[in-house]
C-alpha cells in the first residue's frame, strides 16, 4: 500500500565507547546517563514528524555512533516503540554483541544487523583505533546466528595505513569465511583536518600508488565468491546463494533510488519532496528542544526538481541496475554522455532509455557522473 508518505525511517544513535580517529559521523562518547533522555527525545521527534511517514514502512535503520552501545533497556524500549517495517536494521560494533543482546534485538523485531568489522588484522584495527579484535567479530556473528539472524552484513575498510595487498586479501578471506549475507567495503577516507589525517596523511600519500588497485581487488575477490556488486561499495549474496532472496540493503536502496526518508536524532538528515533538513548535531540543544516539545534546530535546504534530478543521476549510477533516463534530460550533458560512451565507460540500454556503467565506468563513477551532469 502506498499512501504517498516516506517509507524509510532513519534513527541516529550517536553514543560510542570511543571515537575512532577516522570517524566523521556525529558521535557522542560515553554519557550513559543521557541514553534514556535521548531515546525519549527520539520518540518525541517521531511523534512531531511522524506525519510525513507512510502508514506501512518499508525500512527502519538504526545507525550511529554505535547503536548497540546504547543501554540495552533504552535500546529495546526504542525498538518496541518504532513503527514496524519489512526490514529493520541495527548497526553494531562486534564487541557489543553478546548472546543476550542478539536475542533482545531479534525479539524486538530487528531483521538485519550490520557489523562494523573493518579489518581482521589486529595491527590495522589498532591503526583505526577499533576496540574489537578479530575474534570479537567471529563471536558476534555466532551470537547473531544463534539468535536466528539470517541477514548479517559486515563492514570492511581498505586502504588503511600499512595495509599490504596480502593484508587486504586476508581480510576479504576472513570476512567471506563468515558467510555474511551482505558485505560493505569502504575505502578509508582521510578527511582533511581530522586527527587521523594529521597522524597518517603522509603515510597514506606515500602508499597511494600501491593502493590504487585495492578497489579492483575487492570487487574481483568478492564477486568471485558469488556475491553481487550491486552498489559501488556494497555486495550481497547472489540469488543462487540466497535461496532466491534479494539481500540488498532495502534501506540504502531507498537513498540510491531517490526515495523520500525521515531521519530523526542528532545530525540526522530528512528528505521529503522539495525539502531536506539536517538536525542540529549538538545533543544538548536537541534534548532541550524536544524536552520542551519543540522540533530541534535544523538546517533547511530547499530542493528544486532539477536538484533532485541531478541527485537521481548521481545516486542511480552507483547501482548495477540501469538508470532510467525518463525525465532526466535536463540533468544530463549530451556531449558528456557521448564522451563517456565513446570511452567505453557507460552505455545506453533498453532502446537507449536507460544508462548503465561498464565495470571500468563504475570504478570511475564520480568522474563519469561529473562528465554526465549538465
Amino acid at each position: 500500500m502506498d499512501d504517498g508518505g516516506a517509507r524509510h525511517l532513519y534513527v541516529h544513535l550517536p553514543f560510542c565507547a570511543h571515537r575512532c580517529g577516522y570517524c566523521d559521523f556525529v558521535t557522542v562518547v560515553g554519557r550513559s546517563g543521557q541514553h534514556a533522555a535521548y531515546v525519549d527525545a527520539l520518540l518525541r521527534e517521531l511523534e512531531l514528524e511522524g506525519g510525513v511517514l507512510a502508514s506501512d514502512l518499508e525500512t527502519v535503520f538504526l545507525g550511529g555512533g554505535t547503536p548497540t552501545f546504547t543501554a540495552l533497556p533504552d535500546l529495546v524500549r526504542l525498538l518496541e516503540a518504532l513503527p514496524p517495517a519489512l526490514e529493520v536494521t541495527v548497526e553494531a560494533n562486534p564487541e557489543t554483541v553478546t548472546a543476550e543482546l542478539a536475542v533482545a534485538l531479534r525479539r524486538a523485531g530487528v531483521t538485519r544487523v550490520s557489523l562494523g568489522a573493518q579489518s581482521f588484522r589486529p595491527e590495522l584495527l589498532r591503526v583505526l583505533e577499533r576496540v574489537a579484535g578479530p575474534d570479537d567479530v567471529r563471536r558476534a556473528v555466532h551470537h547473531l546466528r544463534d539468535a536466528q539472524f539470517d541477514n548479517i552484513s559486515l563492514d570492511l575498510i581498505y586502504g588503511i595505513p600499512g595495509q599490504s595487498a596480502s593484508d587486504l586479501e586476508a581480510d576479504l578471506d576472513d570476512a567471506l569465511a563468515l558467510e555474511p549475507e551482505h558485505l560493505s567495503c569502504y575505502e578509508l577516507e582521510a578527511k582533511p583536518g581530522t586527527r587521523f589525517t594529521h597522524t597518517w596523511g603522509e603515510e597514506l600519500a606515500r602508499q597511494a600508488d600501491a593502493m590504487e588497485d585495492y578497489f579492483e581487488r575487492v570487487v574481483a575477490r568478492v564477486t568471485g565468491a558469488g556475491y553481487r556488486w550491486y552498489e559501488t561499495a556494497n555486495f550481497c549474496r547472489g540469488l543462487e546463494r540466497a535461496s532466491g532472496r534479494d539481500l540488498r540493503s532495502r534501506h540504502n536502496l531507498g537513498y540510491w533510488l531517490g526515495h523520500d526518508y525521515l531521519g530523526i536524532g542528532i545530525g540526522a538528515v530528512t528528505t521529503i519532496e522539495n525539502r531536506r533538513w539536517r538536525n542540529t548535531p549538538r545533543i544538548g540543544r536537541y534534548l532541550e528542544a524536544l524536552a520542551a516539545g519543540r522540533a530541534p534546530e535544523r538546517e533547511l535546504e530547499p530542493l528544486g526538481g532539477d536538484v533532485r534530478a541531478r541527485e537521481r543521476v548521481m545516486l542511480g549510477l552507483r547501482l548495477d541496475e540501469p538508470l532510467s533516463l525518463a525525465g532526466l534530460d535536463d540533468a544530463l550533458d549530451a556531449d558528456g554522455l557521448a564522451r563517456v560512451e565513446q570511452l567505453g565507460l557507460a552505455r545506453r540500454v533498453g532502446g537507449k532509455r536507460s544508462l548503465t556503467l561498464t565495470e571500468r565506468g563504475r570504478f570511475l563513477g564520480d568522474a563519469v557522473t561529473v562528465e554526465l551532469l549538465a
Binding site: C185, T232, Y255, M314, R339
Partner: protein, 596 residues
C-alpha cells in the same frame, strides 16, 4: 636666444649611478624648482619609472645659468631603447658621463659613451657619489679618463646627493660644450627626439630645432611619416610646460600637435614647415622594428576587451609597441605583441597589470625569424605556431653583446656565452680588476634568461648591453608539444637543433606533472615535424568514486560533483583532454626560466 648662449646636453649614466639625483640638483641650483616644492626626481614622471629607477620617456628641461640657456635632455637608460637614446644624443652637443665612484664604468655607460662619441658630442666626465665610504674617486676617474683618452684632472668629482661640486659641472658645460651651430635663416628643421600622448591635446613631440625657426599656428610636416599638423602650441619645460610664440635654431622645446596617434610622429623624424619646407631631412631616421615577441592572454577570458583597450591606450604613448589579435586553442583569445626588447616587454606587461589591473598570461618570448620556405619567398615569422614545419633556410637576429665584469668572473661569463651559442669577439682590461668582453650572440638566446643567468653567475657584478647586428643563418627547428596527439599551439617553440631534445624533454616532463590524470591514458610528446623527440604518458585514473554515499552524505556529495563540473568548464580542452590553465602557466614558466 642667440645660439652662442645655448648649451644642449644629456646625462649618460648607468642605472643607480645618480642621474636623476644629479638632474634634481641642477634644477635646484638654477632655481628652476625650489627645493621646497620639488617632488624628488622631477624628470622621472611615470610611477613605474620611479619605482624601477629607470627612465622610459625622455623629457627636456630648460634652465638658466650665468646668462646661458642650458637644455638638459634626459635619455632612456636601457639597452632596449638604444635608438631613442641615439636620437636624444643627436639633439645635444654635449653629454655628462656620470660614473659611480664606488662602481666604476658599467657596460651600459660604455655603450652610451660610444654612442655619444659617434654623434660627435663633447663629453664631460663626472665621478659621482664621492661622499660614499666605499668610493674610490681616483680609481673611477682614472677609468673614465682612460676610456676617453682624457686627463684625469678634467674629471669633475661630485656628490649629487649632497650637492658638492655640482656648480662645477654647470660651469664645465658652459665652457666645454660647443654652442649649437645651425643656420638661423635656413628653412626650418627640427629633430623629434621623443613624444608623449596627452588625452586632450594629442601627441606632444619633443623637438630640437636645428635650422630656422617655428611659429605657433604654423602648419608643419613630419618628413618621413609625411604627417601634417598645426603647431597648436610651442613651448619648453621649466620644468612645467611654458608656452612661447616661436622656437628657433639651437633651442629645445615641445610642440602640441593635436595628432591622435603617436605612430604618426615617430622619434627620429624631421619636422619642417609646409610654407618653407627643407630640402633634406636630418640624418639618422630609422623605422624601429620590434624584435621580441610574445603572446599576451588574459587569465580570465572575460577581460579580453579590457586587454584590447589597454593595449590601444599604451600604444598611444609607445610607438614601438606592436600588437595583433591572436587566438590560441590552449589559452583562448589574446594578442601577439612585439617589443623592442625584454625590458620593453616587462614594462608593457607591468603597466598592463598595474595601471589597467589585468591578470596576464605571457607566453615564452621569441624573436623575429626570417624563413625561406621551399625556395619561395623570405618571410618574417613572429610566432612559433606560424613557423613552417619544413624550411629551406632560417635566419635569426644576432646582437653584439658587451659585458663588463671583475676579472675573476671572466670564465663564468665565457661559459655562459658558449652555452648560448655565442662567438667570442674581443676582450680588454679596463683596469687591472675589470674586463670588457664582447661576444656575438643570437638574440633568441638572450630573451630567455640570459640576463638573469649572467647576474647570478657573476654575483650581480656583470653589466651588460647589446646592440643588434643583423640576421644570420641559424640551425633552428620548430618543436611542437602534443597532448593526446594534438599539438598545443601555445607551447610550440623555435630553438637551435642542438637544444631541441633537452628542451622538449623538460616541457614533456613538466606537462606530465601538471596534467591531471584523465579517464584514459594521455600521451605527451615533443616532436620536430613528425619525429618524436620526447614522450611521457599520464596514466589513466583507475578509480574515482567516493565509497560511502548514504542519506546524510547526498547534499555534500552533490555539491562536490557540481563544483567539479564547474571546474571542468574552466579547463582548457586539448582534444579530449582537459588541462587546467595552471598547467600551461607552469609550463610557460619554465619556458621563461630557460634551460636552468
Amino acid at each position: 636666444m642667440d645660439q652662442s648662449r645655448i648649451r644642449n646636453f644629456s646625462i649618460i649614466a648607468h642605472i643607480d649611478h645618480g642621474k636623476s639625483t644629479l638632474a634634481d640638483r641642477i634644477l635646484e641650483l638654477t632655481d628652476a624648482v625650489s627645493a621646497r616644492d620639488m617632488r624628488a626626481q622631477v624628470l622621472d614622471s611615470m610611477e613605474l619609472e620611479r619605482e624601477r629607477g629607470i627612465t622610459i620617456k625622455a623629457q627636456a628641461v630648460r634652465v638658466s645659468w650665468k646668462g646661458y640657456e642650458l637644455n638638459l635632455i634626459d635619455t632612456p637608460g636601457h639597452v632596449d631603447f638604444t635608438y631613442e637614446v641615439s636620437r636624444s644624443l643627436q639633439a645635444c652637443e654635449g653629454a655628462l658621463l656620470v660614473v659611480d665612484a664606488a662602481q666604476g664604468i658599467e657596460a651600459q655607460t660604455l655603450a652610451n659613451a660610444y654612442l655619444a662619441t659617434e654623434n660627435g658630442l663633447e663629453i664631460v666626465p663626472v665621478v659621482n657619489k664621492i661622499d660614499l665610504p666605499a668610493a674610490d674617486p681616483d680609481g673611477a676617474a682614472m677609468e673614465v679618463a682612460d676610456l676617453l683618452g682624457d686627463d684625469p684632472a678634467k674629471v669633475v668629482r661630485i656628490s649629487a646627493k649632497t650637492g658638492e661640486n655640482v656648480a662645477d659641472i654647470l660651469d664645465a658645460i658652459v665652457e666645454r660644450v660647443p654652442a649649437p651651430s645651425g643656420e638661423s635663416d635656413a628653412p626650418p628643421r627640427a629633430l623629434v627626439f621623443d613624444s608623449s600622448y596627452d588625452q586632450y591635446r594629442g601627441v606632444v613631440a619633443f623637438l630640437r630645432v636645428v635650422d630656422g625657426s617655428f611659429s605657433r599656428r604654423e602648419t608643419l610636416v613630419a618628413m618621413a611619416a609625411e604627417t601634417r599638423f598645426e603647431a597648436e602650441e610651442l613651448g619648453f619645460f621649466s620644468p612645467t610646460m611654458t608656452p612661447v610664440e616661436s622656437l628657433s635654431a639651437g633651442e629645445v622645446g615641445y610642440v602640441v600637435t593635436g595628432l591622435k596617434d603617436v605612430s604618426r610622429l615617430r622619434v627620429g623624424d624631421t619636422i619642417t614647415s609646409v610654407a618653407r619646407p627643407a630640402a633634406e631631412p636630418l640624418p639618422g631616421y630609422k623605422d624601429v622594428k620590434p624584435m621580441v615577441f610574445a603572446g599576451l592572454f588574459p587569465t580570465d577570458s572575460d577581460t579580453y576587451p579590457e586587454l584590447r583597450d589597454a593595449l590601444e591606450r599604451l600604444k598611444l604613448n609607445d610607438g614601438a609597441l606592436f600588437y595583433e589579435p591572436e587566438t590560441s586553442q590552449a589559452l583562448g583569445f589574446g594578442f601577439r605583441c612585439g617589443f623592442l626588447g625584454l625590458l620593453h616587454m616587462e614594462i608593457v606587461r607591468e603597466r598592463l597589470e598595474r595601471e589597467f589591473d589585468l591578470d596576464l598570461l605571457v607566453t615564452a618570448p621569441n624573436v623575429a625569424y626570417r624563413v625561406l620556405e621551399r625556395n619561395a619567398e623570405w618571410l618574417e615569422v613572429h610566432n612559433p605556431a606560424e613557423f613552417p614545419r619544413e624550411v629551406d633556410e632560417v635566419e635569426e637576429p644576432f646582437v653584439r653583446a658587451s659585458i663588463i665584469v671583475p676579472k675573476e668572473y671572466v670564465g663564468a661569463v665565457m661559459e655562459l656565452c658558449n652555452e648560448r651559442r655565442g662567438t667570442f669577439d674581443h676582450m680588454e682590461y679596463l683596469s687591472p680588476e675589470r674586463v670588457h668582453l664582447t661576444y656575438e650572440l643570437p638574440l633568441g638566446e638572450i630573451v630567455l634568461d640570459y640576463y638573469d643567468q649572467l647576474k647570478s653567475r657573476t654575483r650581480g657584478y656583470a653589466s651588460f648591453d647589446y646592440d643588434l647586428a643583423g640576421f644570420k643563418a641559424g640551425n633552428l627547428v620548430r618543436v611542437d608539444v602534443l597532448v593526446a596527439n594534438e599539438p598545443v599551439d601555445a607551447l610550440s617553440l623555435i630553438i637551435h637543433r642542438d637544444f631541441a631534445y633537452e628542451r622538449g624533454r623538460l616541457l614533456v616532463d613538466k606537462l606530465r606533472e601538471e596534467i591531471p590524470r584523465q579517464m584514459f591514458d594521455v600521451p605527451i610528446q615533443a616532436a620536430i615535424g613528425s619525429r618524436v623527440i620526447a614522450r611521457e604518458t599520464v596514466k589513466a585514473r583507475r578509480k574515482d568514486v567516493i565509497a560511502k554515499c548514504y542519506g546524510g552524505d547526498i547534499s555534500r556529495k552533490r555539491k562536490l560533483l557540481e563544483n567539479q563540473k564547474k571546474g571542468k568548464k574552466r579547463m582548457k580542452q586539448v582534444g579530449m583532454v582537459e588541462v587546467p590553465q595552471e598547467a600551461f602557466l607552469a609550463v610557460l614558466n619554465i619556458g621563461q626560466q630557460g634551460k636552468s
